[in-house]
């Protein structure tokens, strides 16, 4: 049963999301963990059930799922004001730190040591991207006879992009339409899109 209570002030709400945004390095699960700890356990503004439900819905959103989650939880806590304050509170400070770090790296980018370090960071960035692709593809393993269709779709998009056959945006729309027509009949899983 929902307990009727007055929503927190914008200041308190912004403060909570500021903590979440700035104290969780690396995004993904570490941010998710922080949100749960601050909003559910420490402040009690959200029940665990509401949190879990908002998380599941946020996985269907375009773009950064954590922004969708902040928006959904913000609305639950304080309506439209909650949406704006939550998303801005999580994103703006973290974005400023990100931009400042980029500016700083730009200053030292030509230094031989930076160039050497980046020669090692390049393969890591590439490897993370490949690893993320494999993680996204992992639910294929539980799809039984649908797996072949899934793998074919992944292989096709991989080949199309590397071969420069069609524009990325065309591939995404085509895959969405294909999914609506064909894949919707398979068993959908919420873990399909579990990345930050």
């Amino acid at each position: 049963m929902p307990i009727v209570k007055s929503p927190p002030s914008s200041r308190a709400l912004a403060r909570a999301w500021f903590d979440i945004g700035t104290q969780s390095v690396g995004g993904g699960t570490s941010t998710l963990f922080m949100i749960r700890r601050v909003l559910v356990e420490r402040l009690g503004w959200i029940t665990l059930r509401e949190f879990t439900e908002a998380w599941a819905l946020s996985q269907l959103s375009p773009g950064i799922h954590l922004v969708a989650l902040a928006g959904l939880l913000g609305r639950r806590i304080a309506g439209l004001r909650g949406v704006i304050v939550s998303v801005a509170g999580m994103m703006v400070p973290a974005a400023i730190i990100t931009a400042v770090a980029t500016a700083f790296l730009g200053e030292i980018a030509e230094h031989p040591l930076t160039i050497a370090a980046l020669a090692g960071i390049g393969p890591v960035a590439g490897g993370m991207t490949i690893g993320l692709a494999l993680t996204l593809a992992r639910p294929v393993l539980q799809r039984g006879r649908w797996a072949a269709v899934d793998v074919a779709l992944i292989a096709a998009t991989f080949g199309i992009l590397l071969g420069g056959v069609a524009q990325t945006i065309v591939v995404i729309f085509a895959a969405g339409a294909f999914g609506a027509a064909v894949l919707g009949r398979g068993r959908p899983t919420s873990s399909d899109a579990s990345m930050g």
């Binding site: 973290a94 500016a103 890591v124 490897g127 992944i154």
Partner: protein
């Protein structure tokens, strides 16, 4: 003015058509490389996105900064903040529709396509950064660590930088 709007739309579009923060990478790369930024810039942005606080998807802000300074960072921030919020009215107005098999299929199709596109983008980033043996070894280790998902994501960036300092000169 027109070019500014175009730039903003690149960031908004990439966020709106991707499922997940890093999934916008192939779209961004298609629009920004080589006209606005190089693959080396993409690597820098991805590294900073991992090391800086907040969602990983914030690499888009770093990319925005590389493309057009603070203005670019602002465009990227607005684009990345607005696109996911489509879910807020959607859950209020069309909840049943969101949970339908049909929409599940769309998300699934886009996710699988994203897997293929990210795979291709990853290969391109690796190829652009150099393919010496020690670099390829780093790729293999990073892929394994990322798939296992146990180690903190920022760790491998630090390891890569250290290995680069040792071998990359």
């Amino acid at each position: 003015m027109w070019e500014q709007l175009q730039l903003f739309l690149i960031f908004l579009k990439a966020s709106a058509l991707a499922v997940g923060g890093l999934a916008s990478l192939p779209l961004l790369r298609a629009d920004l490389v080589p006209h606005y930024v190089t693959d080396a810039g993409i690597v820098q942005a991805l590294a900073i996105g991992r090391l800086a606080p907040g969602p990983n998807g914030l690499f888009i802000v770093s990319l925005g900064y590389l493309v057009a300074g603070w203005t670019g960072a602002l465009y990227a921030l607005i684009g990345a903040s607005l696109a996911p919020l489509a879910i807020v009215p959607a859950t209020a107005l069309a909840r049943r529709w969101l949970l339908s098999a049909w929409f599940g299929g769309v998300v699934r199709g886009v996710s699988l396509a994203t897997a293929g596109l990210l795979l291709a983008t990853g290969v391109t980033i690796v190829a652009a950064g150099g393919t010496e043996l020690w670099q390829l070894a780093l790729v293999v280790v990073t892929v394994a660590v990322t798939v296992r998902g146990k180690l903190h994501p920022a760790t491998m960036i630090v390891v890569g930088g250290a290995v680069g300092l040792a071998w990359g000169r």
